[in-house]
Assembly symmetry: C2
Homo-oligomer: 422 residues x 2
């Protein structure tokens, strides 16, 4: 019942190609266990960090109590290694009884009581990547029904231990099976990542019809080189990828590793800014119990989140690559506004980038900018591996984002106000 109402309500606004479950009209936000906690099942020696109901309850408590939920971070997502090694006597998946003694349904209710949502993980294939029971084609219906019975809100379908033919069959079948349960379940497909992420092997029109989000590329690791290689791949292939995205259907460059061990503060700002430009799902994979205040401010920045969550859902693009190592990104937003990101690939010192809107080929067009004229030369100082981010609102107010660094465009007497969004 609830499901059919949702479908009805969303019909008016969804595009012809969006999955018809009415979910995730803006990129989903939340927390996902994998990058930070992997397949740690050693609850004897590592009780605080092992994959167990306690870990997800801890993270739910933090999302609920530390201001994350109000900002939109509502999903608490289990990844691999949650299940028992055997299905139950009726052929259903079951949670590891020692690590999830309360079971998944109880965990889901704990989250729902707090206004949060639960995501779970399965694998289209004989085994999950971690060697747990997979979901072969004959198990798709029963697994979808099991997740619905448990009141799960999102499902990530990985693709280890299956071939292209099986995936071609299984991913659409799972979409139908989830819909058939009557429960709204956001559907994340790893399918394209297993097929190289590009046409003709990957059909993005079809993906938009069956999945709410999909992983196009390899897993993120806790390192700047990993973040950079992912961002590079997505922007190099933006002509293929950007049109595939929209309300209810998102490219997923993988988790945010902000708050972990491998990124500097500038690199953390860059991941956040580039993921916002990409209209990417924002799944943090970090330890919310011990996160630093610096990382928290980046992840909780309201302006960046509002850019990421813009209702138009248009995926932004790289519009310029300078020889100096400066790159410029642009995303059109609702109300004729847009977001600009200046990013530096340099590894020496802050770079004073002199440009103008007309040099960026960022013509006013429908974006009327009274304060900053097309031809006005301005300077942004961009830190190594860092960003400067601008929110440009129409019809004429240039607003600075707090990620802006450096001078206040002194040289050209451009006197735009600096608005602090923190």
């Amino acid at each position: 019942m609830h499901f059919s109402v949702l479908i009805f309500a969303s019909v008016a606004t969804m595009t012809a190609f969006a999955l018809d479950n009415g979910l995730m009209r803006t990129p989903p936000m939340g927390w996902l266990a994998w990058e930070r906690f992997r397949c740690d099942i050693d609850c004897t020696n590592d009780p605080k960090n092992c994959i167990s109901e306690n870990l997800f309850i801890d993270m739910a408590d933090r999302l609920y109590e530390d201001g994350w939920k109000e900002l939109g971070y509502v999903y608490v997502n289990i990844d691999d290694c949650w299940s028992s090694m055997d299905r139950d006597k009726d052929g259903r998946l079951q949670a590891d009884p020692k690590r999830f003694p309360g079971g998944i349904n109880k965990l889901a209710r704990y989250l729902h009581d707090r206004g949060l949502k639960l995501g779970i993980y399965g694998d289209m294939g004989t085994h999950t990547c971690g060697g747990y029971p997979g979901t072969t084609v004959d198990k798709i219906e029963i697994d979808a029904q099991t997740f619905a019975d448990w009141e799960v809100d999102m499902f990530k379908f990985d693709g280890c231990y299956s071939n292209a033919v099986e995936q071609e069959l299984g991913y659409p079948l799972m979409s139908k099976a989830l819909n058939a349960t009557g429960r709204p379940i956001g559907y994340s497909c790893s399918w394209p990542a297993y097929q190289g992420g590009l046409p003709p092997k990957v059909n993005y029109t079809q993906l938009g019809q069956i999945c709410n989000l999909w992983r196009n590329y390899g897993d993120i690791q806790d390192s700047w080189s990993s973040v950079l290689s992912i961002a590079d791949w997505f922007f190099e292939n933006q002509d293929v990828l950007a049109p595939a995205a929209g309300p209810g259907r998102w490219n997923d460059p993988d988790m945010l590793v902000i708050g972990d061990f491998g990124l500097s503060m500038d690199q953390s700002r860059s991941q956040m800014a580039l993921w916002a430009i990409m209209a990417a799902p924002l799944f943090m994979s970090n330890d919310l119990r011990t996160i630093s205040s610096g990382a928290r401010s980046i992840l909780q920045n309201k302006m960046i989140i509002s850019i990421n969550q813009d209702p138009l859902g248009i995926q932004g693009r790289r519009i310029l690559k300078e020889k100096s190592g400066i790159e410029v990104f642009w995303r059109p937003l609702s109300n004729n506004a847009s977001a600009l990101v200046f990013f530096s690939r340099r590894t020496d010192m802050p770079y004073r980038y002199e440009t103008s809107l007309s040099k960026l080929n960022y013509t006013t067009g429908s974006y009327k900018i009274d304060v900053l004229k097309d031809s006005t030369e301005f300077v942004v100082s961009v830190n190594p591996t860092g960003v400067v981010m601008w929110y440009v609102s129409a019809p004429g107010k240039l607003q600075y984002h707090p990620f802006i660094r450096g001078d206040k465009l002194r040289r050209h007497k451009y006197d735009a106000k600096q608005n602090n969004f923190f």
Copy 2:
């Protein structure tokens, strides 16, 4: 006069191969402009960051007022781009008159008045790397005398725009010329870095006789990959490099980039720990006016500094590379103590490394350890790209360093005390 007294005083303790200026019996510490401020000479648009006397005065004030000097950070070192494009009418180098209106000697006195020392930069060749006047063989004596006249305390001799034959001649000649001035001037030679850093092209016995420190390898950049590639090169070649180091003669893996833009906190701890193990000169290249408290605590950690400055001056080594990505480093210290570093190359999550001293081939030998027996199994939890560092004092007390992370060796009931050195 002062110089000959110093020579006399140092004769008793120096080895047969040390440069006979009696300086730098422990690795020099201080601040060096290059990595952070490069060749920024745009004082019109970037007055706070351009290479000028103001920048060095600012850094001197910070070293003097913010607790750095007392910890040993006493050198304030100018790098490239300080000079005028022309020598003066007498053929002497001269500082750029606009950027150093007071001249180098006045700057030296400003530092000396505060118990600090001044370093300057030149290049064995026709031009410096940045295109400023170089020091060809015929100019060596006059330049050495100019630096002495300016009361300079250290000299870095770069090697752009010269060939191997000229370098073979010039580097020893400069050593003699500096000594001949009668002023104690620490001598940093970039020579080996221009000759691949390894025998037979590089003669480390000779280097120890003519230079106080030498750059063996390429320039550091503000990135973890750069720090890692440098550390890798030094430890891969440790059998050649470690014997070359000792009081008065140091391998120099280049500046500390802690406090800049490219390293995470864990990576910053790793650079500090590995540089301490290597008995490396500790020249920070960062902005001491705006450095974060996190970076400052790492750079001001007294225990790490005391390990780096151990009077024996023995360069440590990598003693183990595990398939798991854990590496173990060891440096023997005075008083039969030693330093151990556990480092993780992983990019996933903290790794629980189980080992024992005997597994490390770290036999007690002269290091008697009562508390922790050779065979005692212990666990250290090492963060991705991070370190755990131990100071092991003899005859029998294992002291934890604050860089230690993770559990307290619970599993094996090993009850070593945790001493907080902050």
